[in-house]
């Protein structure tokens, strides 16, 4: 057993980077604008599917298709935004789960368009194999060749991906840090704290909420694209509501209202989630391998509940600030 195989941990780190982008989208929607969106995964699905369909069917170059993917995610945001911003938080939470599930069911059932339950592999029918990923692999290859002048033999496509994902995540974190401190961000915070007061000083509450929703949708779409490129294949089952829960978990781990804590949350989440794959040591080795899978999910649930009871404010959060919230 080679627990410290760098290739494996590179993969885990790439996934953590993608989670940062995903959770950042929720941060904008929930922590800034107070919209509890539980259907975030729908933006990922729509962006990934749009990108893959355009590449495979319309033979579009990957970057163009990717932009259309983001546009589609934002368009879905518009569609959801119009009813959503009117809804009370608890109704919105459930309605957004429903919207996310609808996208997943449509992706499963519109098989002439999406390839059906088989996913992106079957985009042109179940008996043909297609891939949308050639352009991305090319890009990573070229990037790793360029990097090899600096890093030598340590430059692999995987590490190039790691670099791409984390630089993107870092840049986005920086941009949103600036946005959060801009007048725009302050208005959003005001709206979250007291909608009536914000309206009273003449702010168009619905417009600001919609803007936050759309920005979050774009980030969700970006995360969906990155995930599609990283895995190389996706299917409707990948976009179950669980993924949105994971993204919220990352926000909570870091501390709900801490932008800079998102990477910490993503790292902790990835370590915990990956770490539970290693539960094969004594005394767990006495349990058969099938039952260990149930024990693993049980322990994920248990750690989650335990964490919420012991440190509800997150690793970097402030307990007093938490208690002030509703």
């Amino acid at each position: 057993m080679d627990v410290f195989n760098p290739a494996f941990w590179t993969f885990v780190a790439i996934m953590a980077g993608i989670y940062v982008v995903l959770a950042l989208g929720l941060y904008v929607q929930f922590s800034l604008a107070g919209l509890p969106n539980f259907g975030h995964v729908a933006f990922m699905a729509v962006a990934a599917y749009t990108m893959a369909i355009l590449v495979v069917r319309a033979a579009m170059p990957l970057p163009v298709a990717a932009i259309f993917g983001l546009v589609a995610a934002v368009a879905l945001g518009c569609l959801l935004g119009i009813p959503s911003v009117r809804l009370r938080a608890d109704y919105l939470a459930i309605a957004s789960v429903a919207a996310g599930e609808m996208v997943r069911y449509l992706a499963t059932n519109l098989s002439w368009l999406t390839g059906g339950p088989l996913g992106s592999v079957g985009l042109l029918g179940p008996a043909r194999f297609v891939s949308y990923n050639a352009g991305w692999q090319d890009l990573l290859d070229r990037l790793s060749r360029a990097l090899s002048s600096v890093l030598g033999s340590a430059a692999t496509p995987d590490r190039a991906m790691l670099l791409v994902v984390w630089s993107l995540a870092g840049a986005l974190l920086w941009v949103f840090r600036r946005l959060e401190r801009s007048p725009w961000g302050r208005v959003l915070r005001a709206i979250r704290e007291d909608e009536t007061a914000a309206t009273a000083v003449g702010k168009h509450v619905a417009a600001f909420k919609l803007q936050a929703l759309l920005l979050g949708a774009a980030l969700g779409g970006l995360a969906g694209l990155l995930l599609a490129w990283q895995i190389g294949v996706f299917s409707p089952n990948d976009f179950e509501p669980t993924l949105t829960f994971y993204a919220y978990l990352i926000l909570i781990f870091g501390g709900m209202n801490r932008l800079w804590a998102i990477p910490v949350g993503a790292a902790v989440f990835s370590l915990l989630y990956t770490g539970t794959q290693f539960l094969t040591f004594f005394p767990l080795s006495l349990v058969d391998s099938g039952s260990r899978a149930f024990l693993r999910l049980f322990s994920v649930g248990f750690l989650l509940v335990l964490f919420m009871m012991i440190r509800p404010q997150g690793l970097l959060g402030n307990r007093r600030e938490l208690l002030l919230e509703k």
């Binding site: 509890p36 009813p83 939470a93 599930e101 909570i252 709900m256 649930g301 509800p312």
Partner: protein, 294 residues
């Protein structure tokens, strides 16, 4: 015509399960401000508890159901005191995550203890009861009388008893209820007791109606329960009763040939979500909800 009638009956049976589970989930959501993502697992727990009493211990199904109702009510109370009450007031998202974590724990415990294979109660599922031109299953034959007794009883409990009245009062406006002298804390315990008992009954009914079941039983209807809650208006118990029945019938009738030739069955699960979203566009507070914010 027979098809129509049979679809209405099966729809009402599913609807009754959704109504029972939905009332509890709605009151909990309204009173405790908890979207209980573990509610489906309460149903699963009840189904397996009844199975344990019914098959290995050889009790009849009535006794087994009574045991399951009591057991699930205890489970709900236990989780309330151990986990949820200490975490009170943490907000919608935090409570969603905690209950999702609880759901994961409960589901996998049932998997570990009961195994993955399908189970069925000691009743002959292939038996047919002819009721006029209707052919109904033993599950439906049991579920219909139960539903016709229990659903009005629940409505009566909420309308007439002091406990029911205070529950509705707290769901409606917590602060106002508190200053009117209602012990909000006690109502909180009662609501979990009621929700647990109804989930217990609903779980056994669901298992009987499905015929065979596995530990995914409750999780598979979780989002339908939530749809019921939102359609009826969060915290509105009567709303959930009606919404559950309407949703159950609507989903089964959608595939009826008389309804524009019938919806393609593969879109049936989407229907509930479509109804929900369209309804929220028209009435953002649900079918019977009130527009005021708590």
């Amino acid at each position: 015509m027979t098809q129509f009638a049979e679809l209405v009956v099966t729809g009402l049976v599913t609807g009754a399960v959704l109504a029972l589970a939905g009332v509890g989930a709605s009151l909990v959501f309204g009173i405790q401000r908890i979207p209980n993502f573990a509610h489906g697992e309460y149903l699963t727990f009840a189904a397996y508890l009844a199975f344990l009493l019914n098959v290995p211990f050889g009790q009849n199904l009535v006794a087994a159901t009574a045991g399951a109702i009591a057991g699930t009510a205890l489970l709900a109370i236990g989780i309330h005191f151990v986990v949820l009450r200490p975490l009170r007031g943490r907000g919608l998202v935090a409570m969603s995550l905690v209950t999702a974590g609880l759901a994961l724990m409960l589901r996998d415990v049932v998997f570990l203890v009961a195994g993955t294979q399908v189970r069925q109660y000691a009743i002959d599922q292939t038996k047919v009861f002819a009721l006029g031109f209707l052919r109904i299953s033993p599950g439906e034959a049991v579920a219909i009388p139960i539903a016709t007794v229990v659903l009005p009883a629940v409505a009566l409990l909420l309308a007439r008893t002091p406990m029911g009245k205070s529950m509705r009062a707290v769901a409606d406006n917590r602060d106002l209820a508190a200053i009117s002298g209602i012990d909000v804390e006690r109502v909180g315990v009662h609501v979990w007791l009621l929700a647990g008992a109804l989930a217990g009954l609903g779980g056994v009914m669901l298992a009987v109606v499905e015929g065979t079941f596995d530990p995914n039983l409750g999780f598979q209807v979780l989002f339908l329960i939530f749809t019921t809650v939102v359609l009826g208006g969060i915290g509105n118990a009567y709303g959930a009763l009606v919404a559950g029945l309407v949703l159950g019938v609507a989903m089964d009738l959608a595939t009826w040939n008389g309804f524009f030739g019938g919806l393609d069955a593969q879109y049936k699960p989407v229907l509930a979500f479509c109804v929900l979203i369209v309804l929220l566009l028209v009435r953002p507070q649900g079918l019977f909800g009130r527009a005021t914010v708590l």
